[in-house]
């Protein structure tokens, strides 16, 4: 019984002469082997080959499709917009395509954050990038402008009606490197304050216009929160304090620290310029919010949104992009306002900007490049649609338009565009950057109480020192 079992089990391992021998020596076994095994393998291989051929066929047909559409100009566009932003962007893309039948827009939405920037960098490095893409303005210095990005043709933009004077100076200049314009800003997306109008009304915080009254200084802000707490019996304010890659603790710090007049890095991003006294004052205040039970101490961003959305929280701090979520909840009465000026005279707020860039193409020019400029110009002029998602349009004619002023509550905080605290100019800064993750983690621990303000500051400083010491991977000209 044992030997035959043996033989049938060995051949697959040593598919060699032994098997041929076995076949000739023991004819009774050969047919079984042939019947049982080879057809299935052959079938599998055949199937695999067919699949491969299909793939090739699909690839070639894809190529021919491009060639066939030669009458149209192909415009490839990469972005990172998901959620409500994604919906708005797709609507705008559809409207653009409808208005420009001669342009074949191929829009591609990639996963937000680090994965997006990895792909965009590699596409630019290969010189076979999409014609146009979206980039967070504060990430520009880390993107080797001139090497991974091509400069905009300002004359061509002018031809489509876009001029540098149409933008807030501070934002436009952030897109300029060595006298060339590498980024054209689409919006500013600041850190803002959402408030529940019902709760605010009960606590007597609303003015005659139904909007929240201006709050100034930390004492007044704490008083307001305590009043709300007495009214609702709940923690009055919530914002992200922890979670994987949490960044709002950094946004919160950056906002208040900028109000206090502090800077993080020197202009050349080579030196730490943190003012310990100011930073500690801000961090102590942040910790007081959670320690006193005024802010929810341990919540990720999803939990904070859910809490405010349920109508139990008086205030919520985050970027303005949650407006679509809250607007779709008809039973939530809410308003939006600039973050109050707590540490200084100006109500600065942390922000970044979505901007259009031209990833490096070795043969940039001609109709596709023209289409890219035309696309950017059209998007800017129609950015009212984009503003519905909460972002403040960077393009002044839209921001100053009546239509935008009628947009509620989006226009309530629009004035912040002139007082934004953008990240320091450094290759490691900007949305979803290493700096955000490191500082977010350091300040998260201050909020949750696992670090003291001093420990949080020390951790932040050592993280920044490490980033400063790390060479810019692309060896770019800008910092």
């Amino acid at each position: 019984m044992a030997p035959p079992l043996h033989r049938t089990s060995t051949p697959p391992a040593a598919l060699t002469a032994a098997q041929f021998d076995a076949r000739s020596a023991d004819p009774s076994e050969a047919p079984t082997a042939q019947r049982a095994c080879p057809p299935s393998r052959r079938g599998f291989l055949g199937g695999a080959m067919a699949l491969g051929l299909l793939g090739v066929a699909a690839a070639t047909s894809g190529c021919s499709a491009d060639a066939l559409a030669s009458g149209k100009t192909r415009l490839r566009y990469w972005n990172l917009f998901g959620g409500g932003d994604g919906v708005n962007m797709q609507a705008m893309e559809a409207a653009f395509s409808k208005a420009h039948p001669q342009i074949d827009l191929e829009a591609n939405t990639l996963a937000w954050g680090a994965p997006y920037y990895t792909k965009l960098a590699m596409a630019g490095a290969g010189g076979r990038a999409p014609e146009i893409a979206v980039l967070h303005l504060a990430r520009l210095p880390g993107f080797a402008p001139g090497r991974l990005l091509d400069p905009w043709d300002l004359d061509l933009l002018g031809e489509f009606g876009i001029h540098s004077s149409d933008f807030p100076d501070s934002i436009w200049k952030r897109g300029t490197v060595d006298g060339k314009q590498f980024a054209v800003p689409l919006d500013t997306h600041p850190f803002v304050m959402y408030y529940n109008t019902d709760i605010a009304k009960k606590a007597g915080l609303l003015g005659t216009d139904g909007k929240i009254r201006t709050i100034t200084g930390t004492d007044q802000f704490l008083d307001v929160l305590r009043t709300v707490k007495r009214t609702t019996g709940q923690q009055p304010i919530t914002f992200e304090t922890l979670g994987p890659g949490c960044i709002n603790p950094w946004r919160l710090f950056s906002t208040f620290y900028a109000q206090a007049g502090g800077t993080v890095l020197s202009a050349d991003a080579k030196r730490l310029t943190i003012d310990d006294a100011k930073a500690l004052k801000v961090l102590t205040f942040m910790q007081q919010l959670t320690h006193e039970g005024l802010a929810v101490q341990k919540t990720d961003v999803g939990g904070a949104i859910a809490l405010f959305n349920s109508g139990k929280s008086g205030f919520f701090l985050d970027g303005e992009w949650d407006v679509s979520t809250f607007k779709s909840n008809t039973s939530l009465p809410f308003g939006m306002a600039r973050i109050p000026a707590l540490f200084g005279p100006v109500a600065n707020a942390q922000a970044d900007c979505h901007s259009f860039v031209l990833p490096h193409e070795s043969g940039r020019g001609g109709a596709p490049n023209r289409a890219a400029h035309q696309f950017a110009a059209w998007m800017l002029k129609n950015s009212l649609m984009w503003a519905e998602g909460g972002h403040v349009p960077a393009y002044s004619p839209v921001r100053d338009s009546d239509a935008y002023h009628k947009l509620e509550p989006q226009s309530e905080y629009a004035s912040v565009a002139n007082d934004v605290a953008l990240d320091p100019v450094a290759w490691f800064a900007g949305s979803a950057s290493a700096m955000w993750i490191d500082l977010g983690a350091a300040f998260s621990q201050v909020l949750t109480g696992s670090s003291s303000p001093q420990q949080g500051l020390d951790q932040a400083k050592s993280a920044l020192r490490k980033l400063i010491a790390t060479p810019n991977p692309f060896g770019g000209a800008a910092a």
């Binding site: 002469a17 680090a114 990895t118 630019g124 490095a125 922890l242 949490c246 998260s444 060896g475």
Partner: protein, 316 residues
């Protein structure tokens, strides 16, 4: 068992040795061995090609870029000698993340081995609806890591997840650095213990029944039989399970990347994620390569030590 082993040994052992000279002798003699070069190479060529292209070449290329400040975009890079290696040895984050990998290994291996054995013993003993036990113990293993990560992220959701919701607790399973690693270990045990269970179950079925019969006749109770027969007879399987477990644990990345992203505050970031973060998020491919070669050498050393220990044990 020993019969099969000698059988395969006899079948395969002569091949590698004779393969070399059979090439020379194939025309004249070596009727049996001729096939290796004539057919074997043809059949293995597609694999060898892919292997060389996607494994051997990148491995060598990686050594080269670990000596440069090569970046993801491949621009402006130059040879910088051992700078990356000196930086890596001084980088506390390398050692911190390496420790997290080791920590994960130390925390996950014992429960995976012990629970796998315990589940196999239960499934082996039970005489009713056996398929149900086997299926339910093994089922999680067939899930892809992304599905497992999503399921458990919801279970661990602070406040209203399955655990916090059921026990009215407010533990930040994945958001508190005290518990995050343990939560990932729990997830991994649930997910992969089924494989060890299967190995043990197969081995249990291979233990000759007469051993138990003889022991029973001599008056050995169930515990005695477990400790004196079952566990010693499973020694080889345990060795296999532990080795497979160590290798799998050193490669930990998926669950952690998806469940905690290495957080909170990098408290769960394994060394593979550090390489990913530095290389793909930070664009520093050269430095990431250097770190990966350091890990490579460490794993080789560990494997050699383990091999040596294992051999001694077998001989002894």
């Amino acid at each position: 068992m020993s019969a099969t082993l000698t059988g395969t040994d006899a079948g395969s052992a002569p091949d590698p040795g004779s393969g070399a000279d059979s090439a020379g002798r194939s025309r004249t003699s070596g009727r049996v061995r001729r096939g290796w070069t004539e057919h074997g190479l043809v059949f293995t060529a597609p694999f060898l090609l892919v292997y060389a292209l996607f494994l051997v070449w990148p491995l060598l290329y990686g050594v080269r870029i670990s000596f440069s400040d090569y970046n993801l975009a491949g621009i402006n890079s130059k040879f910088i000698g051992l700078d990356n290696y000196t930086e890596a040895f001084k980088d506390p984050l390398v050692w911190q993340s390496l420790w997290h990998t080791v920590e994960f290994t130390l925390m996950s291996t014992p429960p995976l081995v012990v629970l796998g054995l315990a589940m196999a013993l239960i499934a082996h003993q039970l005489r009713f609806v056996r398929w149900l036990w086997r299926l339910s113990y093994f089922a999680p293993f067939v899930l892809p890591s992304a599905v497992v990560a999503v399921i458990w992220t919801w279970i661990f959701e602070p406040g209203f997840g399955l655990i916090d919701g059921t026990f009215k607790s407010t533990i930040g399973w994945l958001t508190d650095s005290q518990y995050a690693m343990a939560s990932v270990v729990l997830t991994t045990v649930w997910w992969t213990v089924g494989f060890n269970f299967l190995l043990y179950l197969a081995a249990l079925q291979g233990i000759p029944a007469q051993l138990y019969e003889a022991a029973e006749l001599d008056g050995a109770g169930p515990w005695k039989r477990l400790w004196k027969i079952t566990i010693p007879m499973l020694k080889r399987t345990t060795g296999l399970v532990v080795v497979l477990q160590l290798i799998a644990s050193l490669k930990i990345f998926d669950q952690i990347y998806m469940m905690t992203g290495g957080g909170p505050d990098n408290s769960t970031r394994p060394v593979l994620e550090y390489m990913y973060d530095v290389g793909f998020t930070g664009y520093r491919t050269g430095y990431a390569s250097a770190v990966s070669y350091i890990l490579f050498v460490l794993i080789v050393v560990v494997s050699l030590v383990q091999l040596r220990l294992g051999r001694n044990r077998e001989e002894g």
